[in-house]
Symmetry: C2
Subunit: 214 residues, 2 copies
């Protein structure tokens, strides 16, 4: 409990800073390998340079994801939690430290790719404006029911890898029904980070939210 209180305190500090600097902050979460980094690679390709972006990526170890993002030209910082105990989520303190390396004055959008985990990241506020949960259609229909906190706390659900639908025994309508049961207000967008199906809707949602904050 003490850990969450200290974290909430720091999250409040971050949120004030991001508001002052007029930066819209998104916390992207999913299971390992649902496609968060691929989504970012393809999204950054379409919104830069109109939107000035910065990316913070969290993993237990490796710099793989930040290296992939840097290739898009966006500034990216990798946080490795194994340097301080191997936590399975990003804390507000680690975001505060990483964000201080960015020039927030110029930035419109800060995206945090959290550690691949559908449980603990949902419990830690990092000072974000919204949370986006990515769910791959390869993971089965029942994840919203099994990991309700993640879906309840998110503002958007992206159902990714829909290019694989023809090869799966999977009912996307059932997943959406389960999402509605957990969070009836949350919009759901079907996308493929491979074929870019659904990206127009996703980018429009993103731009509308950035404009709303300004």
């Amino acid at each position: 409990q003490k850990m969450l209180d200290a974290n909430d305190e720091m999250a409040r500090h971050n949120r004030l800073l991001f508001k002052e600097k007029n930066v819209f902050v998104i916390n992207i979460m999913s299971s390992p390998g649902s496609g968060k980094t691929t989504l970012l690679e393809k999204t950054l390709g379409r919104i830069q340079p109109d939107i000035n972006c910065g990316i913070i990526v969290g993993d237990i170890c490796t710099k793989n994801d930040a290296e992939r993002i840097l290739k898009t030209g966006a500034p990216a910082i990798q946080i490795n939690t194994d340097a301080f105990g191997g936590e399975c989520h990003l804390s507000a303190g680690s975001i505060e430290k990483a964000a201080s390396d960015f020039n927030l004055e110029e930035m419109d959008l800060l995206i945090v790719e959290n550690v691949g985990n559908l449980v603990c990241p949902a419990e830690f506020d990092i000072g974000e404006d919204v949370r986006v949960v990515v769910l791959s259609v390869t993971e089965g229909e029942d994840k919203p029911l099994k990991y309700p906190l993640m879906f309840r706390e998110s503002s958007l659900a992206l159902l990714n890898k829909i290019d694989l639908l023809p090869y799966l025994d999977y009912d996307i309508g059932l997943t959406k029904k389960y999402i509605t049961r957990i969070n009836a207000e949350m919009p759901v967008i079907e996308i493929s980070s491979k074929t870019l199906e659904g990206f127009d809707q996703w980018i429009e949602w993103l731009k509308n939210r950035i404009i709303q904050k300004k």
Copy 2:
């Protein structure tokens, strides 16, 4: 730290009990939706009644997985961690409690399907004989590098959903190279829980381990 010490104490207790009752215990772990329950459904169909089995399934919430397993005729107990704080892993204490509902005298094999999470379950000994990590080929090649503890502590890696390989930009050789980098001794078996490719190898590995313990 205190939590792990108390847990290790209980794990030692469990391990003595399982040795006394001559039950071989496997702890199966993976990301959410890698196919653990489907693997169990298809495996139990092939090894019962020659091998007397019991299953313990862990999830934050829902009884879905135990209900699926019960349809195979095997006794299955569902542990929901939301009843005691929503832990993202199974502890040795929760296994001790669930196992007490089984008739261990008659049992050859106890399989524990852990909570879908590549991080915390690897840190908690539950008194098992071996750990099996299931990795879906839809999750990308780099998970062994990003979640090394899970792969280092396992005795077998099952690369699942190989029926989807023709539709993925995925290099299974690269994944195996990464696994070898983290745990050179660990065998890797490619399987599909849909087409049952690779199941002969998996079932043989399983039977050999049960016989070794007897």
